[in-house]
Structure formats: C-alpha cells, structure tokens
C-alpha cells in the first residue's frame, strides 16, 4: 500500500511549511496556481487541510480554492506512488502505436492508468502531449524523457529509477 502519511492537519510543522509557501507568493498577481504548485511539490499532493488556510490568506472561500484544485488535472488530492510514469496518448503517438504500447505497459506493471502499484512504487498516468511528436511514441518519468518508446525501453526506465 501507499506508505502512511502523517496527518497533515495535526502536524505542527505543516502550518509552518504552508505559511512559508504562502509568504513567497502573497502579493504576486494571481498567486493561487504558483501556491498550489509549491504545495504539491512539498507534499506530493494538495492536502485538503491546506485549502482553508490558502483561502483565508488570499481572501477566497474554501469552495473557490477547492474548485481550482479540482479543475486542473495536475493537482492530486492524494499522494502518488514514489515515481510517476506518464505515457502520451495523443494523436501523434497513436499514429506510432501508443495504444499497443500502453496495453503492453499496463500488462507488465499490472495496473491501469491512474493506478499505483501495490508497493507504492509507481503510478501510471496518461498525458496528452509532451511535445515529442516527431519521435513518437513518448513517455516521461520525472526528469527522464523517452522518445520512440518501446515496451522494453519503458521497462528499463522503470527498472533504473529505483536502482
């Protein structure tokens, strides 16, 4: 299972870490997205407990903040696996066999899109275009990018990250 996280709301330094992030962005024009990106970078997701604090700091309602968090695909309401493997599903990659590649990768990992391996190591996500359309199909894992991806190359990439 996913490793147990400390309950953010009761964590003493949770507020401090959140205040630091808020302090870095308050006063900017349109600060909410930069704040949410930093919150997600800090905790790996946007903890629900952060929403009312952010709302109060920006003079918004909690519903408004939650509405923004839930609108964007990037923001998670729970942690991902330690690594996130993204496979491009868009047209250029489809034209070079992305659907078949996705089937192979899903079978090899034993998980579907938006799922995490039982050991909490890897989450599989679809992505719609990495801009690597001239060397399709493509995949991404953290800083690592893969062009002309094959199931073998993806397997190697997955094996390397924890090695």
């Amino acid at each position: 299972m996913i490793p147990a996280m400390s309950e953010p709301a009761t964590d003493a330094d949770f507020t401090e870490r959140l205040e630091t992030i808020l302090g870095a962005h308050i006063g900017r024009e349109g600060p909410l997205l930069p704040i949410l990106h930093d919150v997600q970078a800090e905790w790996g997701y946007v903890p629900e407990a952060a929403e009312p604090v952010i709302a109060a700091a920006l003079g918004l309602t909690r519903a408004e903040v939650h509405g923004v968090v839930s609108f964007y695909h990037d923001f998670r309401d729970h942690p991902s696996g330690r690594h996130v493997l993204r496979l491009c599903r868009a047209e250029a990659c489809q034209s070079m066999g992305a659907d078949a590649l996705a089937d192979e990768v899903r079978a090899a990992l034993g998980i579907d899109f938006h799922e995490t391996t039982p050991d909490g190591r890897l989450t599989l996500e679809p992505v719609f275009c990495l801009g690597l359309c001239a060397c399709a199909p493509s995949a991404q894992m953290g800083e690592r990018l893969l062009g002309r991806a094959t199931a073998d190359k993806v397997r190697r990439l997955v094996a390397e990250v924890d090695a």
Binding site: E29, G30, P31, L32, L33, P34, L36, H37, L58, G67, V68, F71, Y72, H73, D74, F75, C88, A90, E91, A92, C93, Q94, S95, M96, G97, A98, D99, A100, V127, F128, C129, L130, G131, L132, C133, A134, C135, A136, S138, E143, L145, L146, G147, R148
Partner: protein, 508 residues
C-alpha cells in the same frame, strides 16, 4: 575543440544527455537547441575550419568510435557533412528559428552575434506608433491558429487607457503534433524575451507573463534562466537597453488543462481561477488579465516580432501567399520518416511537405491522412494533399491551420477510432462552461460507439451534433472538435458504415 549536443527535450528523449556526458571527457560541449531534424537526434555538431559538421543520430555507445572522426574529419558512417548544407536546412527560410540549434540558448553574447537585439534597438529608435505600424505592415497573424492580425490587436491595446497593461504569451502548446513553442523556449528563449519587450514598448505595458504548460519542464527551466540573463544584460528591467521604457516578465506554469490554451481561459488560469472560458466581449485587448488591457499572443507570433522589427514589416510581407504572409514553422510528426520542424513561407502544398520534405510514412506503408492543426484540426485525406498551406486555403477545404502541426497516419489508421478520440478528448478537457461542448462531446462519444456497433442510425445524429457543437460552443474546443470528427466521416464514410465487428487497433 567545441562540439554541440542539443538540450532540446526531443534530443534528450533520444539520449542526448548521455552522449553529451560521454563527449565532455574529450571536448568542450555546448548544449544547443535542436535544428529541428528530429530523426537525426541526437545530432552532434563539431566546428572544423569555420564550418559546423553534423553526425547523427548518435547514441552514447557510438561516442568512443566517433571521437577521431570529430577531431580530424575522418570518414564515419554517422557523418552528415556540413549541417547548413543538408537539404532539410537549405530548403528552409528560417526567420523565427534562425538561431535555434545554432547558438548557446543562454548566451546573450552569441544571441547578439547572430542578429539578436537588432529588432529591439530599432524598436526603441522608432517608438511605439511606428512599431505597431511595422507589425501591421508585416501582415503577421496569430500563429496559435486564430489568425487575427497581430498589429490590429496591438493597436487596440496601445489605444486603451489604463494604468497597467500586460503582455501575455500563450505558451500552452497543448496540441498534439506541435512543438514549435517548445523548440523556441529551449533553443532561443531570448528571442521570445526580445519580442515581448518590443510588444511592451509598443503598447505601453511594463509586465509580461509567459503561460507555459506544465508538461514542458525543460522549457520552463531554460526560459527562466534566460530571463535571469536578460535582466543581467539590461534587456529586462527598469530601463530596457538604457531607454526610458521599463519591462519585466516571468513564467507562469499551467496545471494540465488543455482548454487553457484558449486565451480567455488562459487569463482566468493566470489569475488563479478555474480555467473556464470567458464570453467575449469584452475582448482581452481591453479587459484582459485582472480586467486590464492585455495583449495575448501566441509564442511564435511574439518570437517573430524581433525579425520583423530588424528587417522591416515590408520584408516579411513579401513572403507567403494571399493573406498568409511570412513564414510558418511547419511541424511534421507522427508516422513520418523525417519528422521535425521546417520553417518555410506559406504556400507549400501538403503533398510537398509530407512526401518531399517528410519523406512519406515512417512505417513505409501508404500515407492515408494527415491531421493538420492539432486535435481540433481536420483529417485531410491523401487525395486532398494539394492544398497550399495557408489560413484561407485550408479553411476553404474545411480544414484548419491551427498551430501548423501536421500529424501523419498510414493506412492502418482507424478513422472512426480517431473521431471517437477527438470527442473523448473534448469531453475530458471541456471547461464545462457551455452546454454544446460539455454535453455534446459526451453524447458524441456515445453516438460514435453506437455507430461502431453497427447502428448506422447514429450517423445523422452525429452530424447534427457536430453542427450544434460547431455553431453553439463558446470557444474553439467545442467549436472545432467537430472538424476531426466530420472530416473523418466525410472522407472515410465506409469506415463508419456496417461496423458490426470491432476493427483491429489502428497501430497494429
């Protein structure tokens, strides 16, 4: 000796980092942008006797055997000859992309040595009104696909009275098959900075934002570093190149919403709101970011401004066809032998681009169709490839220029499946503001599924639905999603009729 290994994300995805690391033991390695010949990446270049010679595609394992050839010019199977002499390079008119792949993207010195800042200097000399006139004379139109004349947009913002105005660069390049913005941000970010500074001077804006999609971490990193260099060099700041004009800018990162490439939802997102579309009027030029006058331009439009200012609008307008003036960075992708970016004046036919420049399909099978202009663009069947590449020319054939991406499919493509994908994508990415898009796309998927099951009564319903979405949607997402669907249905009707059995996967 100096060698170049691209830092471009496509080159990295093909192993450029490992190649650069291996070469660094013997050479001084500069990480450049990509020349755009993605099938040759990683493309290693070396300078001998003032000429740059190319080698590619190079894998890390090739490096040991390549070192001698790089030093002496000895024969090598990966040797390509002088890069500028390659047919792909020689056939282009690289104006916007003149320095991409040539210079160190973060060197202000190299940028200037290759013509950078000439446009900004002239802009400061001639002043705001003359800048707007020059841009208008150039005939430059929005390169995001809408094709609105850039000069007219700037004139509106310049004429608006407000204490604070903005230049917003749309770098939310979400269209599959498009990577021109990414190539600029990674290969010549200073040209975007220069273009935005010129725009700021022209309309009286002192702040710029680049809204870049989060899927481009490499672009964000390089562009932010370039902004830092530009501040140090006095290109940005309280006094642009020592003038009385102030201009500064920053990068804002999207959060994975395709619809934020639409200018009003982009502005909402930039303000920290849900990326829903705004009804127009008011137009962003008068009430844009935070309700203030705002220029929202596509990245390629802004990156073309420095060339126009340096050489004059008339020189730019001499290129192209009809009302499509200047050059267009054509992005060839998908099932294509030679995929990459090819900048040329408007007017080449799709056939020339796909067959002559692109070399046909990568699979070697016959090309069936090409989707032009991204996920909302039409599938142009191979028998219509004589359409010249231009805004009106494509429009006349119920197709779109979009962001000038061309995604090629061979004869194994399943057009019904691609049509379904267009509707599904629209359903996933719809902002939800208007009903034709939000509900229509879901019904579209369901109706195509019915047709796939062999229910031909679904075909007229699908056509009617597309018509409603096209005319009733608030923005291009719901409004243009019918293009791929209807083009597939119109040109390949046999793939929608009599489908009782599921077909093989398109890619098999």
């Amino acid at each position: 000796m100096r060698v170049w290994v691209p830092l471009d994300a496509a080159a990295r995805a093909l192993g450029a980092d490992e190649v650069a690391e291996a070469l660094a033991r013997d050479f001084t390695v500069t990480r450049n942008g990509t020349r755009g010949m993605i099938w040759l990446e990683p493309l290693v270049e070396v300078e001998r006797d003032g000429l740059r010679y190319g080698y590619g595609p190079v894998e890390a394992g090739d490096v040991a055997g390549l070192i001698d050839a790089l030093r002496t010019g000895a024969e090598h199977p990966l040797a390509l000859g002088p890069v500028e002499e390659l047919p792909w390079m020689k056939a282009q008119a690289r104006l916007t992309f003149q320095r991409v792949g040539v210079i160190d993207p973060l060197s202000v010195g190299e940028y200037e040595a290759y013509g950078g800042l000439e446009g900004l200097r002239r802009a400061l000399d001639i002043g705001p009104e003359a800048i707007v006139q020059d841009v208008t004379d150039s005939g430059l139109r929005g390169r995001g696909g809408a094709g609105f004349p850039t000069g007219i947009k700037w004139k509106t913002v310049a004429g608006a009275k407000a204490e604070r105005k903005y230049i917003v660069c749309n770098a939310d390049e979400g269209d599959s098959g498009s990577f021109a913005d990414r190539m600029i941000m990674e290969g010549d970010p200073l040209v975007l900075i220069e273009g935005m500074a010129i725009a700021g001077i022209a309309v009286g804006a002192v702040q710029g934002y680049v809204y870049c999609r989060s899927e481009y971490p490499d672009s964000i990193r390089v562009l932010e570093a370039a902004i830092g260099k530009a501040r140090q060099a006095g290109i940005l700041g309280d006094s642009v190149l020592g003038s009385e004009h102030a201009f500064d800018m920053e990068v804002r990162v999207g959060a994975g919403a395709y619809v934020c490439g639409e200018e009003t939802s982009l502005l909402n997102s930039l303000e920290g709101k849900r990326g829903t579309v705004r009804a127009k009027p008011p137009i962003p030029a008068l009430e844009g970011f935070l309700g203030r006058p705002t220029v929202v331009n596509n990245l390629i439009s802004l990156a073309t401004i420095p060339w126009i200012l340096a050489h004059g609008g008339a020189a730019y307008a001499q290129l192209g066809i009809g009302r499509s003036k200047g050059t267009i960075p054509i992005q060839l992708s998908g099932n294509i032998r030679h995929g990459g970016l090819f900048e040329a004046p408007f007017g080449m036919t799709l056939r020339q681009i796909i067959e002559e420049i692109g070399g046909g399909s990568a699979s070697g099978r016959p090309v069936k169709a090409a989707q032009v202009g991204g996920p909302l663009g039409a599938y142009v069947p191979h028998w219509n490839f004589d359409i010249p590449f231009g805004y009106e020319e494509l429009g006349a054939k119920d197709a779109l220029l979009g962001h000038a991406g061309i995604t090629v499919f061979d004869d194994s493509a399943d057009m019904l499946k691609l049509a379904r994908f267009a509707m599904e994508f629209c359903a996933v990415e719809s902002c939800g503001k208007c009903t034709p898009c939000r509900i229509g796309s879901v019904r579209g998927v369901e109706t195509i599924d019915r047709i796939a099951q062999g229910d031909e009564d679904g075909i007229p319903i699908l056509k009617d639905l597309c018509n409603t979405m096209k005319w009733g949607s608030l923005c291009a997402l719901g409004g243009f999603a019918p293009f791929p669907v209807m083009s597939a249905l119109t040109h390949f009707p046999e793939e929608f009729s009599g489908r009782r059995e599921p077909r093989k996967e398109a890619a098999e």
